[in-house]
Amino acid sequence: MRSIAVVGASLAGLRAVEELRTQGFDGRITVIGEEPHRPYDRPPLSKAYLTGTCATEDLRLADAADTDELAAEWHLGVRADSLDPAARSVRLSDGTEVVADGIVIATGGRARPLPGAEGLAGVHTLRTLDDAVALRADLDASTAGVVVIGAGWIGAEVASTCRTLGLPVTVVEASTTPLARVLGATMGAHCAALHTDHGADLRTGAGVASLTSTGFGPWKRVTGVVLDDGTHLPADVVVVGIGMRPNTEWLAGSGLPVDNGVLCDAGCVTAFPSVVAVGDVARYHGPDGPVRHEHWSNASEQPAVAVRNLLAGTTIQEYHSSGYFWSDQYGTRLQVAGHPAGADEVTVVDGSPHDRRFVAEYRRAGTAVGVLAMNNPKQFGRLRRQLRAGAVPA
């Protein structure tokens, strides 16, 4: 293999390039990134970047020296439009064709928009640096307050940040308990209580019927959110955090099986041995069937395995997700490891949820499968290690 194209220039794409060099690939590497920016870190976008305590330079994942060392060719601000695995060709939106022996797909995903909110000023999703810049400008000018739609991780972090900025915030969540799908109802409720602790108005079991607006044409601007029960929540900023969609449309006609992500085997290799997928877009074969992870650690850890298999030409190593992710909300650090969603038993093993400082262990049929900690990194670290030692064969 003498040339490799990495499609996607975010965390997973950059890690893939780094792993290629670390694992001894000295051929040509071409990186294609839709955003005009060099690889940057997303976690601070909903927190420190939004409050202004972290600058754009601080988000950079690789400085000039790191980038030089990787000796890759960067095509930024250009989208990959199609892939032809037989011709080993990626066609770009500017008409360029990149031919490479191996392909790493790291195209991530995009935020799911709220239907009917297209083109309405004041309505935001948050995934990219440009999204964060636009949201920050609107928050700075906000007087009527903010409605956050969706009490998942992004929604909760944005709500927390808005409270830090002193803005009135209402969080609207469709399910009866936020985060219950991931953490279970009891722990989900403990996490959701952080909103009310800090003066955010949390409305659960609430659907959005419509948005109200003023002006017309390009001057149309949001004025509030109408809930299913007819309640009108006034707002000049609405943040929509209702999940993401993997960016796979460009693979139409490529012959690559795609179903809510790029389907791959346990080692992140697609139906073509010369094409691997990593990060949010990769739906690999996990222990319980096809699975996609949308967290930072996955994007950081998966490329090492995918690249090893790509260079070997076959799957010689399987990927085991640590399941680790964290969230900072209202000055509280939440950390999760393993796979709590599959548990049938949850026990608080240290501290107390009512003190907002605890560690809970999740078990399935008596075996530890996950850990959740609130403001307790040390005990979390201990249990996470035990979990890792137990779950992953050495």
Partner: protein, 105 residues
């Protein structure tokens, strides 16, 4: 020189955080006392809450590992070292001599 605590109050494997403009973390690693900057050089996390293994502390947030003797990270995601500080023990009490701000590499 900052008095930290009695040697007896910092058992092996434990750490204590000295708050301040630049917080410092003091560790007992196998009976040896070390002091480094408390804040991970990668992203805001307190290394005193990290996992200690031999002479290395693992950041509680992203598992970047730092050598307590040199402050050097062992690999991604951290790239920059943290500062190390001189430790002296007087009458059974741990003291830290903070390194000057200017000495940051």
């Amino acid at each position: 020189m900052i008095p930290v605590c009695a040697v007896a109050d910092l058992p092996d494997g434990e750490a204590v955080r000295i708050p301040g403009e630049v917080p410092i973390a003091v560790f007992n690693a196998g009976g040896e006392i070390y002091a480094i900057d408390d804040t991970c050089s990668h992203q805001d996390a307190s290394l005193s809450e990290g996992w200690l293994e031999g002479c290395f502390v693992e950041c509680p947030l992203h598992a970047a590992s730092f050598d307590l003797r040199t402050g050097m990270p062992t690999g991604a995601p951290a790239k920059k070292p943290v500062r190390t500080h001189e430790v002296t023990i007087q009458d059974g009490v741990i003291h830290v001599v903070p390194q000057n701000q200017e000495a940051v590499v």
